[in-house]
Structure formats: C-alpha cells, structure tokens
Symmetry: C2
C-alpha cells in the first residue's frame, strides 16, 4: 500500500466518522430519550465535530476490514471509541484537571461553554458510546455487541483510562505535600501510559477483531499489535511534547518538562526514545505477518503513529 | 405485606448491594484492567459505600422478583443502577454544578478528596455500571445483558439524566444574562424532572422486567408503574425541600426557594402537590393489579417514596 493510498483510507474513515457523529448528535431524540437539551448537545457537537485524525476509529475500521467487514456497524463501533476519546479530552482539559485552554487549535469545551456544561458534555459522550455499541445496528449478534461494550468499558474505566488520568495527576505531584512531581520509575511511567493512552488504542484494535469475528490466534496477534502500537503512540507523544512546535501540534508543548514530569524522553533521552520507537514499530508490524498483504494498512498505521507531527 | 416485612425487604436489598459494591470496588483489578489506582478507587468507595436507601436497586430487585428471579445477576444489575445514581450525585455536587458540601450528612466527594478526583470517580462509576451489566454473571443471555445496557444508557445520557441536569442548571438562570432563575412552565418543570430523576427510576423497574423476561403486556404495565413512581418521587422531593428539616433530609433544604427555581410546590402549592402525590401513588398501585398480591412490595414502595422523610 502506497503512502497516498494509506492517507486516502485514513481520510475516508475520518470523513465517514464525521458524518456519522453529525447524525448521531442531531437534535432529534432517539427512542427512549425524552429530549436533547440544545446547550449540552451543542457542547458535545463542538467536542466531537470538525476534524481530528480519528486514529482510534481508523484502527477499528482497518482491523474489521481484515475480516471483510466494511459497513455501518463497524463505523458505529468506531464512532463509539471516538466518543470515549472525546469525553476523556473534555474532562482532562478541565481547570481542576490539566487546565488546558486549547485543543486542536480551538478553545477547549469549558472555555467555549463553561465548566458545568463541559462536565455534562463529557458524561453524555461516555454514555452515548455504550448506547451506540449496545444498539442493534452495530451488529445483529447481541453477543458481539456485548463483547464490544466490555472491551471498551475495561479500557476506559478505573483499570484503564480513568485510572491512568488519576496516576498522571499524582505523577505531577498534585497530591504531594510539597506539590513537586513524583520521580516516576520506568515501570510506573509505562503503567501510567498503558492505562491512560495505550488501553483504548489496544481496545480499538480488539473491537475491530471482535466485530470481525476473529479467531483466537488472530485476536491474540492483533492484541500484540495493539499493545506495541499503543506504546509507540506514547513514545511519539513524549517526543512531540519535548521537541514539537506548538503551532503544528495544536496544543502547548514542553509542558511535561516544565512540570518536571517523568516521560519516556526524560527516562531514555531523545535518542533512546527514538530507538525504542523504531523497535515498537517493528514489533507492531511483525505481529501482522499472518495477515499477509491485507495487514499493510495496519502496518502503515504504526509508521504513521511514529512519524506524526501532531 | 406488612410495613415491617417491607422494611425488611428494603434493608435486605440495601445490605446485599453494600456487600456486592464492596466486592466490586476491591483493589484487585478485573481481567482486562491494568491496575486500580488507590486514590480514585477510595473516592469511588467513599461515594458508594456506607448506606443510603438503595431505592433504585430495590426497584430492580422487587421487579425481578415478580418473575421469580432472585440471584446474584439481579443484584449486579441493581448495583449497576446504583453506580449510575452515585456518579450523578458526585458530578452534580461539584462546585461548577450545584456546589454542595454535604451529602447524606457527610462531606461530598470533592470536599473529602478534591475536584479532579471527584470528576474521575464519577467517570469511573459510570463506566463500571456498563461493565457490570455487560459481564456474563449478570445474565447468561447476551441479549438480556445488551437490553440492560441500552435501558440504562438511554435513561442516563443526553436524553435522560445528563440532559435533565443541564435543564436544571438552565432553570436556575445559570446561563441567563441577568443570572435570574427562568420562570419554568409546568410542562418545562415536568420534563426536567422526568429526565433528571424520573428516567432512572423508570429504568430501574424496566431493568427488573428485562432480567425477569417479562412479557410485553407486563413490561408495559410496569412502565406505567415506573413513570408514576418517578413522578411521585419528585413531588415528594420538592415537598421535602420546601418543608423538610435539613438534619433529617441529610442535605440543605429550602434551596429551591432560595434559588427561586420552579418546583412542583411553587407551581401547585403545598396542598396541590400533596394531592398530586396521592393521585400518583394510586396510579402506581393501579398499574400493578395484573400481578395480584405479588405486586405488594412494589405497591408499598410507591407509598414509601411518597412518605419518606429523607
């Protein structure tokens, strides 16, 4: 697969997700809903529409495609993961959390609206994600839908993304008596990152495998891919924060160093982080050999994640 | 069923839920979870353990019992609803929302911990609720589990509890240029309450019917019961806020009047609200006639909801 063909796939999925989210976040209540109050709906739309790479949906879509599934159900599963990602950004940006003012170059939800609306918009997106997975159009088989709910909930909750954000605040010394960042060991830092960002990337791949009815051996190979990809994503993220240009990255950079927080760059140095990144990309690609040329899109995704500039 | 027998049932369910939540919120990660960071786990335990009437679990349990189901799966569904209720209280109490300092007579989660931890604890509880419903021990049939997820998500999200809290903040004039409460019409007030508190009470009953594999006619009768019960709950709540003693209610009273917010008491007066309450209790009880004496526990629940002092 050429670089251009890969870009076309990535952008095709992003456009399809944008369009599906636009429909799902319409002002018409779904059956069982009483009404959709405009203010919180607007905040949810503001958080979710208007672009982004849609990397997590792309992982769901490309993994499902390995098994010949390319349909609205797959896109719904992909959009559900994106809603969980979006909710986590809205809540993490809040003043009481990371206190960020910009996200993808525009004011964060609590700046564009207000804190209460941002909390509710996040809550609404998290709930919507499970709703979308559970509803019939995602897959005719309830056992598949329930497996999707479980994969996403485990990656998002206390033992995944929520717990990871907690560890991140603690690593910044938020609850330390002296307020100083805690010198995180390599093990601590890797666990924090596995929870905060790795788990949902791995879950995206797993959800593609679930909806594609992958056999156990295939699901295991894809799990190895997902783990390596998630780790590669985080090394690249730490490198971007250490070296990237804020206007390209679309949010403040150099924040980790300013906060004195342990990152893979502070642990391994820039060169060490770069070499780790190469190893992880190789590991991700190696996990896909059983799929032959059909695995090209996912293999290229690992390269894309490593080389991204934002 | 005598009043004492009813009390014993209510307290029995509360004890079983307390014990199940204590186990589910243990420090051991579930399969698929990486780790459970103690700080956010402690906040989730603080929010969920140590009592409460457990009215929503009681509704799930007593409805399922109509169909002969009394097992751990029913308790899991009941505990999931309680987690959603608990999350909503934690988030609603936040300074940016209702800014409450006391809940059931103890400091709210953000006072006992901090705002960031409270946001994350709420997010973790919401996610855990769907996780619990989706996991096999709740019911062997994935179609039943997925129906439970859907019933809870619709009641909790944008078109239910999340949307209701948004409308509530708007009704208080939070986003009005002059900051003054908006004079809500009867229709507005009833919709707000149906979303904010009614939907999850009705969902609790519906979830009991789902797990009990109720026939359509039974599910419809129970839906009518759930709607009437939810409305009765809210009238009673408004009466308590207007007339209750803060030390009995366990939270500040007179808040609605102080904020100038439209309630059923401001709309109908105390006597009008009391007579509406009686009608709703009758309506709830009448919906249960098809179940004969087996419906006694739910019938008495409607009376309990109307007469409660906290």
């Amino acid at each position: 697969m050429s670089k251009d063909a890969f870009r076309a796939r990535l952008e095709g999925t992003a456009a399809a997700i944008e369009s599906l989210l636009d429909r799902l976040l319409s002002s018409s209540p779904m059956p069982g809903e009483i009404a959709r109050p405009p203010r919180v709906l607007d905040a949810m739309r503001y958080a979710m529409l208007g672009g982004g790479k849609r990397l997590r949906p792309h992982l769901v879509v490309e993994t499902a495609r390995l098994f010949g599934r390319e349909d609205e159900g797959v896109l719904r599963a992909a959009a559900a993961v994106e809603c969980v990602h979006g909710y986590s950004l809205v809540h993490d940006d809040l003043p009481a959390m990371d206190d960020d003012e910009l996200r993808r170059g525009k004011p964060t939800v609590h700046r564009a609206f207000d804190v209460a609306t941002a909390i509710l918009a996040g809550d609404g997106l998290l709930t919507l994600a499970f709703d979308m997975l559970a509803d019939t159009p995602t897959d005719p088989d309830p056992a598949v839908r329930i497996a999707l709910v479980l994969a996403l909930s485990r990656a998002s909750g206390l033992g995944g993304m929520v717990g990871g954000q907690m560890l991140d605040l603690e690593a910044e010394g938020r609850f330390a008596a002296d307020g100083k960042p805690i010198a995180g060991s390599e093990e601590d830092t890797l666990r924090l990152q596995a929870m905060k960002t790795g788990a949902i990337l791995a879950a995206s791949v797993d959800m593609g495998a679930i909806i594609g009815r992958a056999e156990d051996s295939q699901r295991n190979a894809l799990a190895a891919y997902g783990r390596a990809l998630g780790q590669a994503f985080q090394v690249a993220d730490d490198l971007l924060d250490a070296e990237g240009e804020a206007d390209l990255v679309g949010k403040a950079t150099g924040k980790d160093a300013a906060r004195g927080k342990a990152t893979l760059v502070s642990l391994y140095g820039v060169d060490g982080a770069r070499s780790r990144l190469r190893r992880l990309v190789d590991e991700a690609r190696d996990s896909l050999t059983a799929f032959g040329p059909a695995g090209d899109a996912l293999a290229r995704t690992a390269v894309f994640v490593a080389e991204r500039q934002s």
